[in-house]
């Protein structure tokens, strides 16, 4: 991200408590101008609460929220220049599609005619012009979704907040909408703050992701960064699939940590700040970073026995048991398997990985 990019939404030490329950524990993060930013986490992690605090539906117990440098935490929702796409869209059922989209403009003081003509343009943008006189209930889920988008974008908000807007759609439509949303964000140049519990969705769409759990920020970064360099156990486990194994650290040198696994197997991992020699921690290695061979390959090799193969279309998952030790899950793509053979259960094999594929995690 470029240094000169200005900050759209700045959350500083925000805390949210409901009585004794703390939903958000002191969160600080900056969302940049023109960014597709995602709040990702399991349900109950506080991501929706944070979004609703930005929108103005929840008060901020402690801390501040700035929108382009302006403190907004005491503004009621109808005075905040941000708009929300609600989880179930919340399209006004008694109004036509056009009136729904025009509503925000009207409330901002535009004349009815002006509001409607602008609403018409917005509907064109989401390709729903022909439905402007229908009631929301006469549209399909995907169409309602686009109306909700048009309605929220029509008043040209300074930021668009999206609260799991795709969760009600089926898989196929969802994929299509993901792309459409991404394009819409590029076209409009508006900052999008997107809330989801679906890590794949977050990885596909976002410029940056904030991973949250139990009211705390776990990691903030670009999708690749988060996927490949998970900072802690929660992130490694929540994003994608991984081999999460307990290790003890024997030596640390030159940015590498030599560890051993259960059964005495030795493995070199990337060193991480805050982990010292003798520590018992977890390490993570993605299944697709592993490959199987008859003989040890260059890099790291561990000897084991094939336990099971699971065929899943594009790839095969093989579970390999290290002697007296843990299991490894290895994913081999069917497309670039080439003439590599499939190892059968019972075969003695080596699990190999590049140096640096295995990362130590703080707990």
């Amino acid at each position: 991200m470029p240094e000169d990019q200005s900050i759209a939404i700045d959350v500083r030490d925000a805390v949210k408590r409901y009585g004794d329950f703390t939903a958000l524990k002191t969160i600080s993060l900056s969302i940049l101008d023109n960014e597709f930013f995602t709040l990702l986490g399991p349900s109950g992690c506080g991501k929706t609460t944070l979004l609703r605090m930005v929108a103005g539906f929840e008060d901020v117990t402690e801390g501040e929220i700035y929108l382009y440098g302006e403190e907004i935490k005491n503004l009621p929702p109808h005075q905040r220049p941000v708009n929300t796409v609600f989880q179930n869209y919340a399209l006004f059922p008694h109004m036509t599609v056009l009136d729904n989209v025009a509503f925000g403009l009207e409330m901002r003081g535009r004349s009815k005619a002006q509001a409607r003509s602008r609403a018409g343009e917005m509907l064109e943008l989401v390709q729903l012009s022909q439905f402007s006189n229908r009631k929301p209930s006469q549209l399909s889920g995907g169409q309602q979704q686009r109306v909700a988008l048009a309605r929220a974008l029509a008043p040209q908000p300074k930021a668009l907040l999206l609260d799991e807007p795709l969760s009600a759609l089926d898989q196929k439509l969802r994929k299509a909408m993901q792309l459409e949303l991404k394009h819409l964000q590029r076209e409009t140049g508006i900052t999008f703050v997107f809330v989801t519990h679906d890590q794949e969705e977050a990885l596909t769409m976002s410029d940056r992701i904030a991973v949250m759990s139990e009211g705390e920020l776990q990691q903030l970064g670009a999708p690749r960064d988060i996927y490949e360099h998970p900072h802690n156990m929660f992130v490694a486990d929540f994003i994608g699939e991984t081999n999460l194994l307990e290790v003890s650290v024997d030596t640390i040198a030159n940015g590498r940590a030599t560890c051993h696994l259960g059964g005495g197997h030795e493995l070199t991992c990337n060193q991480v700040d805050g982990i010292a020699v003798g520590a018992k921690v977890h390490m993570s290695v993605r299944p697709e970073r592993l490959f199987i061979s008859d003989d040890p390959a260059e890099g790291e090799s561990l000897k084991g026995r094939v336990q099971e193969n699971i065929f899943a279309g594009t790839d095969i998952t093989t579970i390999i048991n290290l002697a007296d030790g843990p299991n490894f899950t290895v994913r081999t793509s069917n497309s670039n398997r080439g003439n590599k053979r499939i190892f059968e259960p019972g075969n003695e094999v080596f699990v190999n990985m590049e140096l640096g594929a295995a990362r130590l995690l703080v707990d």
């Binding site: 006004f92 509503f103 929220a152």
Partner: protein
């Protein structure tokens, strides 16, 4: 007979009981309706179809009395149900959309008080109250008493409706720069409309039909349809009473049917 399929849900005889139930509920009404079209002077003998008792109601010797009573009844019902519905709508907004607050339960209790207290007790209480404050009994006392006991009947469908409306519509409107007042008039009221209409009609019927309370708080010489009918029935059931009853019955059924259809019409879909 063919062996019936074993159905865990069906019990023999329950269907018959249901039919019996409906027969019991409707038989008296149907019989009175039929006899209101009787040509005979006697209520016992059937002498063929005729509209003479309906003509009698509108132009017979007692027509002036019944017309005045009907006029009173409708005026009272319109005023009482309009005010009660307005009050109930505001109260429902506070109770359903006002968050949790200390007087919430007390408010619900107060609103349902007229439903819990036996009607005869309410009647006596209202009489004593007006007597104590020295309020002359007349049309106004009837209207006031009706407003009070119509409130719960208006409140129930309105509150039920409001509970069924997700608050995300209001949030979406606020998010789109609407003030709370605008949210109320532009979003909540239109969405609540079926509940409000339903509440209005029910409270209208309740007011129109009330006998016991009216009988206690009405001033001397002032009659509503039910008190006039009661007075007449004390002298024995006459055919013209059956004609009036049939008309009143029709009004009630039509209004309940409208209320039912309106409340089923879901304008959130």
């Amino acid at each position: 007979m063919a062996q019936r399929k074993y159905d865990i849900k069906s019990y023999r005889g329950f269907g018959a009981m249901t039919i019996l139930c409906l027969v019991v509920l409707y038989a008296p009404l149907v019989v009175v309706t039929i006899y209101s079209f009787n040509a005979s002077n006697s209520i016992t003998v059937w002498e063929g179809l005729s509209l003479r008792w309906y003509v009698d109601v509108f132009s017979g010797p007692e027509s002036a009395k019944f017309k005045l009573a009907a006029w009173n009844s409708f005026v009272i019902a319109i005023i009482a149900s309009t005010i009660a519905t307005a009050i109930a709508t505001l109260a429902a907004t506070a109770i359903v959309r006002g968050g949790k607050f200390r007087l919430r339960t007390a408010s619900i209790g107060l609103i349902s008080l007229p439903l819990m207290v036996p009607e005869i007790v309410t009647a006596v209480a209202t009489l004593i109250f007006f007597n104590y404050i020295g309020f002359d009994r007349g049309l106004l006392t009837i209207v006031l008493a009706h407003i009070a006991f119509c409130i719960p009947f208006a409140y129930l469908p309105i509150a039920a409706r409001m509970q069924g409306i997700e608050d995300s519509y209001e949030q979406a409107a606020m998010d789109l720069y609407a003030t709370k007042r605008q949210v109320f008039t532009r979003i909540l009221l239109p969405l609540m409309a079926p509940g409000i209409i339903s509440g209005y009609l029910l409270s209208f019927i309740v007011s129109l039909d009330d006998f016991i309370i009216t009988n206690f708080v009405k001033g001397a010489g002032i009659e509503t349809l039910p008190t006039a009918i009661f007075g007449a029935v004390k002298q024995g059931i006459k055919p013209n009473i059956m004609a009036i009853s049939t008309m009143l019955l029709a009004v009630s059924i039509i209004m309940v049917t409208i209320s039912y259809i309106v409340s089923k019409s879901d304008n959130t879909k």
